[in-house]
């Protein structure tokens, strides 16, 4: 597709030099479409699946941090392109479109019934295969998806591509030459400061940024942006390459916590005293 854009002479020169120097930076954002956090999640009647009827789907919030960061890098440095990659059934195109409306440039949907049967490991391998087929200087994803909570896809993509993987990032500074990233990684009780050579996979977590809402002009522009579709064959993979290594046999509701005692008492002081006693003598936790 040919785009005509009006540029000043200066812009033409710097862009030409950038292309010649190959300064263009390609950021890939791995995005997952998940049930909204308000959704009530129930197993199917046979307990072998999840009942998604009536469930609203949204972009995984941790991936929103990744998209937002990619857009901020694009705004800060010149010649950055942001591509969204999503593995989902057809409804996933909505998630891609939303990311494009936020400001990403193009998207790819991995839509294949075999891919949908995979676990986190298989998903990561498929995403890695797709990423390998495009220029990639930086891969941003969410630390976790709020449906599976597996925390695996980011590191397994990194491993599949032979790249450094840093998960749980709350700050990213890309060097001016776009070759390195200085990142802050969240750990228990603190933060690690790491220097990472690009390309690398960085997993975003809460605290990295506040994601923007798509603007109306953004939504209109997104309608014209390209979303490619990929099947297993397009990725050069066989079903064996993406066979799941784990499988859910039964879904069940969480163990019911029996609603406990509401502590009676004439005054707050009495209730407090009773509680302290129960915690010491009955629950034995203090």
């Amino acid at each position: 597709m040919v785009r005509y854009v009006v540029l000043s002479h200066g812009e033409v020169l710097s862009r030409t030099l950038a292309i010649l120097r190959r300064e263009e930076m390609d950021i890939i954002c791995c995005v997952k479409q998940v049930p909204d956090t308000e959704a009530e999640i129930r197993p199917t009647a046979d307990h072998m699946g999840i009942n998604y009827e009536g469930v609203k789907f949204v972009i995984n919030v941790y991936d929103e941090y990744a998209i937002e960061e990619a857009l901020r890098i694009k705004e800060r440095l010149a010649d950055v392109s942001v591509t969204i990659v999503t593995l989902a059934p057809s409804r996933g195109v909505e998630a891609v479109r939303t990311a494009l409306a936020m400001g990403a440039d193009k998207g790819v949907l991995l839509d294949d019934p075999i891919l949908l049967k995979g676990d986190a490991h298989a998903t990561a391998k498929a995403l890695a295969a797709a990423i390998k087929m495009m220029p990639h200087d930086l891969i941003l994803c969410g630390l976790r998806a709020i449906d599976d909570d597996s925390f695996q896809v980011g590191q397994i993509i990194a491993e599949s591509l032979g790249l450094p993987g840093v998960m749980g990032v709350v700050k990213i500074d890309i060097s001016a030459d776009k070759k390195q990233a200085l990142v802050h990684r969240q750990i228990e009780g603190g933060v690690e400061v790491l220097a990472v050579r690009l390309p690398a996979v960085l997993g975003a977590t809460k605290g990295l940024n506040e994601p923007r809402y798509p603007s109306l002009p953004g939504i209109m522009k997104a309608k014209k942006k390209e979303i490619g579709r990929c099947t297993l064959g397009d990725l050069g993979l066989t079903p064996d390459d993406v066979a799941a290594k784990t499988r859910v046999t039964v879904y069940s509701l969480p163990p019911i916590r029996k609603g406990g005692k509401v502590i009676e008492g004439a005054t707050p002081e009495e209730k407090a005293a009773q509680l302290a006693r129960l915690l010491r003598e009955e629950a034995k936790v203090i």
Binding site: R42, G168, I187, K206, V250, L253, A272, A276
Partner: protein, 328 residues
């Protein structure tokens, strides 16, 4: 030779409690399988920690030591652990689901091409001696029973404070030092600095007692009484999303679906209504206490003990009562 291997994470010269919990639970599985229960220690000076694992069931402790492993890096630890796994050839590898445990297990699973289940709350064996696990999904709204393909080792990370650590002090373990062909390049990143936040207090995810405040606290200065209660009990202070979004508490204090998942022995929810997203973050706490003046607050359905009253009238006397008990 087959065996069950437990990755023993350590920090500042101490082994993380979750390693003791996993060993205690895995002992039963190893006995049923007729295989040895072993542990892996990776770092720069870890041999001295090895015998600490014996009381909890480790029969053999494998150590990989290198200056390059003085600090955790995904690349360095993954290389060392994969080298160890290839030499030891266990059938099952278990990790604590700490931040680095989840990180390391994922990289190792990718490198070895094996299955991994994260943040498990139950482990067992099927009739064939293969690992089966139970784990929360959708932030605890649903639990899944999961089985593995035949690729070995089968790997799982375990939620802290779910299994119970049981020590049998008379036991000793065989200590085996293994070498690793680790080079600086394997680290893949350069660790420049570690910035500590929160002083000496344990992280929420590792705390045994948490006193958590929500919108009912009405303002940041009121969290002082929760800090005092937490200090008396030897716990830490957490917060609901409302309190964090209002700017009353830092992000790192947030418990819930988009915050931290905690599993303490005691969780006291003060002025917290108990939205699904909050419950997702503390649902496996052993004992839950709710203090809220709204009798309809959903938190009361999950709480083991509840007080329906004004938290500002309850907390001060509660502090005094707990001080008295602690003084005994």
């Amino acid at each position: 030779m087959p065996g069950i291997l437990v990755y023993a994470e350590h920090k500042d010269g101490k082994i993380k409690k979750v390693a003791f919990e996993i060993l205690s639970e895995a002992k039963k599985l190893a006995a049923r399988k007729g295989e040895a229960l072993c542990a892996a220690l990776i770092g720069s000076e870890v041999e001295q920690l090895a015998q600490l694992l014996a009381p909890y069931g480790a029969e053999r402790v494998y150590c990989v030591e290198s200056d390059l492993l003085a600090n955790y890096t995904t690349g360095g630890y993954a290389k060392a652990l994969c080298d160890l796994i290839r030499q030891v050839d266990p059938s099952i590898v278990l990790f604590g689901a700490s931040i680095n445990g989840k990180d390391l297990s994922a990289r190792v699973a990718g490198r070895l091409g094996v299955g991994l289940t994260t943040d498990c709350t139950g482990i067992d064996l099927d009739e064939g001696g293969r690992l089966v696990v139970r784990r929360p999904m959708f932030s605890g709204k649903v639990y899944a029973d999961v089985v593995f393909s035949d690729s070995l080792p089968q790997m799982a990370s375990i939620r802290p404070n779910v299994f119970i650590a049981k020590a049998d002090e008379g036991r000793t373990a065989e200590v085996v030092k293994l070498t690793s062909t680790l080079t600086a390049e394997d680290l893949m990143v350069e660790l420049l600095e570690v910035i500590k936040i929160g002083g000496e207090k344990p992280d929420l995810t590792e705390a045994e007692i948490i006193v958590s405040g929500g919108r009912g606290m009405k303002g940041p200065e009121n969290f002082q009484i929760l800090e005092t209660l937490a200090d008396v009990l030897g716990g830490v202070v957490g917060a609901s999303r409302s309190a964090v979004d209002a700017g009353w508490r830092p992000q790192s204090d947030q418990v819930g679906q988009s915050g931290k998942v905690v599993s303490p022995n005691l969780y006291i929810a003060v002025g917290i209504s108990g939205a699904i997203q909050h419950l997702a973050g503390m649902g496996t706490s052993k004992v839950i206490v709710a203090i809220n003046k709204d009798p309809e607050a959903p938190i009361f359905k999950k709480a083991d003990y509840g007080i329906v009253d004004d938290l500002f009238a309850v907390i001060p006397p509660l502090i005094e009562e707990c001080k008295k008990l602690k003084g005994e």
